[in-house]
């Protein structure tokens, strides 16, 4: 749904916007009314930058799913305790605030103050009440959290934190595998095995025996989390059916 609702339109928009402002490229298709050419290269570059933009968004969606705040604290809690706490708290704050505001709004609706009906002025008044209640709650909550953390000695020397993560043998494999892929792809980048240019004409590295390994490794790296998850899923299904 996210892909349909957001990704496809943004690819479309960028692929239209780019050729409207960028007229570089050797293959002239037609001319705009102001005399500048519409080029094939700029259209393709628009599509590719749209896909790139969406890819970055998807990366962040995945990061959000994978990097929960406890993982974040586990990783950075010792190195930069205050910053990682602030980060994880503020990251958590947005969804929490949203949920709280929603519940306040629902409560207000029960006593007849509905934001979705009535005159503009009364609706604004209700909305302000809800917002002020939520903000007060958020501030109070922040103070309480800070007090609570302080009383539990967060950030003090010698304080230990419990986490369920351990560095196991499989993690060693993962580090080696991703390190290998990273180095390999870096090397590929140095020898411009992924070289691709759009302007002034489209040129790219030949897809042959010298570059295919790089593409294979890249595919392997990208597909690794998928394989791990799928394997776990299968295992779970198998165990579940035996019960």
């Amino acid at each position: 749904m996210f892909i349909l609702k957001f990704c496809l339109p943004s690819i479309l928009v960028t692929s239209f916007i780019n050729p409207a402002f960028n007229h570089e490229g050797q293959t002239i298709l037609i001319y705009f009314s102001n005399g500048n050419p519409l080029t094939l290269e700029s259209i393709l570059y628009g599509i590719s930058s749209g896909v790139m933009l969406v890819t970055i968004l998807l990366w962040f969606v995945s990061l959000n799913r994978v990097m929960t705040s406890d993982k974040f604290i586990y990783l950075f809690g010792k190195i930069i305790p205050s910053l990682s706490l602030v980060l994880s708290m503020s990251l958590r704050f947005v969804p929490r605030f949203k949920a709280h505001m929603f519940s306040v709004a629902e409560t207000q609706r029960c006593i007849g103050r509905d934001v979705s009906s009535g005159s503009l002025i009364s609706r604004t008044k209700t909305a302000i009440t809800i917002l002020s209640a939520s903000v007060t709650w958020a501030l109070e909550n922040a103070i309480e959290t800070a007090d609570s953390m302080k009383s539990r000695g967060y950030g003090l020397k010698g304080r230990t934190a419990f986490s369920i993560y351990r560095f196991e043998e499989r993690d060693v494999y993962a580090v080696i595998w991703f390190g290998f892929c990273g180095l390999f792809l870096l090397a590929g980048n140095i020898v411009s095995a992924f070289g691709f240019r759009y302007f002034p004409n489209i040129r790219y590295a030949a897809f042959d025996i010298t570059t295919i390994p790089f593409y294979c490794i890249y595919l392997g790296m990208c597909i690794t989390p998928f394989i791990i998850n799928a394997k776990e899923e299968l295992k779970w299904k198998a165990l579940y059916s035996k019960m």
Binding site: E24, N34, G35, N36, W177, F184, A187, V191, P200
Partner: protein, 380 residues
């Protein structure tokens, strides 16, 4: 732990493989380091074969009588290869630079000869002639000292390069000639002789306003005072185009300065630089009364399928030519971009504000040094 060993083995092999077996095969035109022409002047066939195979751009440099010269060879131009002799003898004479080529038969592919003089010529044009006949077209560039760029296709063993005093037709008042539809001919390359013959028959009335040179302040579009005797800008909104009256002008687009500054050129653009520096050789084009240089540029580029991008700049009330033939401003150093000159003068206002007159000569030239290398002195 066995897996670990296998992994590290794969890693070593793979890294060794990718550093040794593949080199950058991303289609790029290489720029080779300048090579010195040997004493004998002979460039061996195998060197040319290599340039051709790598699709590189190579520069060979030499000296003759303390005049430096360079040959630029594009690998994409090379067809047949053999040992060629690139040494030339240059002598300064009263008539100009006498050039003697030691190669006797044709190279078989076009080359560019750049002669770096030790002085600065004031003239913007030069001709290479032998027995009173023009043999090569010469483009005069260079900021501090003059560089002569001569595209060489056929070998003429001896010729002289001399500056040409700029003589343009605008000094004499002319009467008008109106063309019919049939006269609106296709563009064609002309020799200067043909052009002169043509111009002597054509005259047009002069209702253009010329600068008296008295202005001291900038006008409202930030244009410095126009020098005395030069046409005043005509704002695009005031230009009335009369489709019934067709005139002609000579139009050319060239970028030979890039060939003298290939090191500054963006690597991606090497491929699209014409090896002789000429994007559009001098061509007689038809335009209609009241049209500006920009209107004509747009039409010429469309007609000849040359890429051109321009953007309207309200501050200067003119279009700004960003790039022609995919060579954009700043592509060859920070001081590079397109400039235009009409009858040897670089107007100090935008090309949408220059209303063309019959028989004028418009040149669009790429500069790599704020105009200094294309004999424009008022910039910077």
């Amino acid at each position: 732990m066995n897996m670990k060993r296998i992994f590290s083995l794969i890693l070593t092999i793979a890294l060794a493989f990718c550093f040794t077996s593949c080199k950058g095969n991303y289609a790029q035109t290489d720029l080779k380091k300048p090579m010195t022409i040997p004493e004998s002047g002979i460039i061996e066939k195998k060197i040319l074969d290599e340039i051709k195979k790598e699709n590189a751009i190579a520069v060979f440099e030499g000296n003759s009588n303390s005049i430096h010269y360079e040959w630029t060879i594009f690998g994409s131009d090379i067809k047949n290869t053999r040992d060629i002799n690139l040494s030339i003898e240059l002598t300064e004479t009263d008539n100009g630079i006498k050039t003697v080529m030691n190669e006797s038969s044709d190279f078989g592919f076009p080359l560019l000869l750049s002669i770096h003089l030790n002085e600065k010529w004031t003239e913007q044009n030069a001709s290479a002639y032998n027995d009173g006949k023009a043999v090569y077209s010469v483009s005069v560039t260079g900021s501090k000292t003059t560089i002569l760029n001569i595209p060489i296709d056929k070998v003429v063993s001896e010729f002289t390069i001399a500056p040409v005093t700029d003589s343009y037709s605008d000094s004499q008042p002319q009467t008008e000639k109106v063309y019919t539809e049939e006269d609106i001919i296709q563009t064609e390359t002309v020799t200067s002789a043909e052009r002169d013959e043509y111009l002597s028959g054509v005259n047009n009335s002069d209702n253009r306003i010329y600068s008296d040179g008295n202005a001291t302040d900038q006008d409202k579009y930030k244009t410095d005072p126009v020098p005395e005797g030069k046409p005043m800008p005509v704002e695009p909104e005031n230009q009335e185009i009369n489709d019934d009256k067709a005139f002609t002008c000579t139009f050319s687009i060239e970028c030979s300065t890039i060939l003298n500054n290939l090191n500054d050129l963006e690597a991606d653009k090497r491929e699209i630089v014409p090896s002789n520096g000429i994007i559009l050789s001098p061509t007689v084009v038809t335009f209609y009364e009241g049209e500006s240089v920009f209107d004509v540029l747009q039409r010429v580029c469309k007609k000849n399928n040359i890429h051109m991008e321009a953007s309207w700049t309200p501050v200067y009330n003119s279009a700004y030519v960003e790039g022609i033939n995919n060579l954009y401003e700043f592509d060859c150093g920070n001081l590079s971009g397109w400039m235009y000159c009409v009858d040897g003068w670089y107007p100090n206002y935008g090309c949408s504000r220059y209303q063309l007159k019959d028989g004028e000569t418009v040149e669009f030239r790429y500069t790599c040094d704020l105009g200094k290398d294309v004999s424009c002195d008022w910039m910077g």
